[in-house]
């Protein structure tokens, strides 16, 4: 009596080297997890969206802007107090120096940025001083504009 035994699994081809078999086994293990890679990409997209939501930029102003053209139209020895008030409005403060009046106009500007855990708030001021002589005519105009150099920054370290 003869019995024939047929193998349940095909035997590996004698042409295959052991290292190739190992790679095939690894590939068969990786295959079911390939769906995770798109998930990671989806997560990265979420990071990008969340990154945008973790950002905030804002700006604010205190006082009306002081235009360069308005300042330029104030002429020393010609413009009077009344003309300055008509041009720029009532001053924010009035000083008296050596019996001379000084009008002070100011404006503050703020720029704020937050990116993730880092925040920075930069504030700068524009200051305009108009000095009058005893007759109420402009003697000197001093204008400092710092708000035009104000930047949005979020990095809180360094300068």
């Amino acid at each position: 009596m003869t019995t024939s035994i047929t193998p349940k699994t095909p035997s590996p081809s004698p042409n295959l080297v052991p290292s190739t078999i190992g790679r095939r086994r690894l590939a068969s293990k990786r295959k079911p997890r390939r769906w995770l890679q798109p998930l990671v990409w989806l997560l990265c997209a979420g990071v990008a969206i969340d990154g945008a939501s973790g950002c905030a930029f804002s700006r604010g102003d205190l006082g009306a802007p002081i235009n360069d053209s308005d300042v330029a139209s104030i002429k020393k020895g010609r413009t009077t107090e009344a003309q300055v008030i008509a041009l720029l409005g009532a001053p924010d403060t009035i000083h008296e120096v050596n019996h001379q009046e000084v009008f002070h106009y100011y404006r503050y500007a703020l720029k704020h940025a937050t990116v993730l855990v880092f925040s920075r708030v930069n504030i700068a001021s524009d200051d305009l001083y108009v000095f009058f002589d005893r007759e109420g005519v402009v003697d000197q105009v001093v204008f400092g504009n710092q708000t035009n150099k104000l930047k949005f920054q979020f990095w809180p370290f360094g300068e």
Binding site: G54, S119, N122, A124, D127
Partner: protein, 139 residues
């Protein structure tokens, strides 16, 4: 899933948590005006430098104070720093513990004021100039 992808996933998750505002740390800085450095004001010589020279080089002051002998011009620079961290933040991920108050916040803040002051006599000549004596922000 390779090791590289696992790390990328962890990094993405951590960044997501931070980005949605769950960050246990924060750094904030507030500055007002620009700082003046000693070399910016080195040209000022008391008894010689005039009002117009100072204004031309440094711009308009932020404040003028009248004195009996003349005028004082102040240039302000403020630098504030804040750091905060919440050591109880991880407890928010532990089921029952997260329901109880679990904030353990440590904060440190400091404000440095660096005012540059120039005093003029009634003729508009510099009498003195000096930086204010304050400590820089430590945070």
């Amino acid at each position: 899933m390779t090791l590289r992808w696992q790390w990328m996933a962890r990094l993405a998750l951590a960044t997501c948590l931070i980005a949605v505002g769950c960050a246990p740390v924060s750094w904030t800085r507030v500055t007002i005006n620009r700082p003046l450095k000693p070399q910016d004001v080195a040209f000022i010589a008391p008894g010689k430098t005039k009002w117009n020279d100072v204004i031309k080089r440094l711009g308009a002051p932020n404040q003028l104070i009248m004195t009996s002998s003349g005028i004082v011009a102040n240039y302000y620079y403020y630098d504030g720093r804040h750091f905060g961290t919440d050591f109880g933040w991880p407890l928010g991920f532990l089921g029952p513990v997260s329901l109880a108050p679990h904030s353990m916040i440590l904060r440190k803040a400091g404000v440095g004021v660096d005012t540059f002051e120039v005093g003029f006599d009634s003729a508009g000549t510099v009498e003195y100039d000096s930086f204010s004596h304050t400590a820089p922000p430590s945070s």
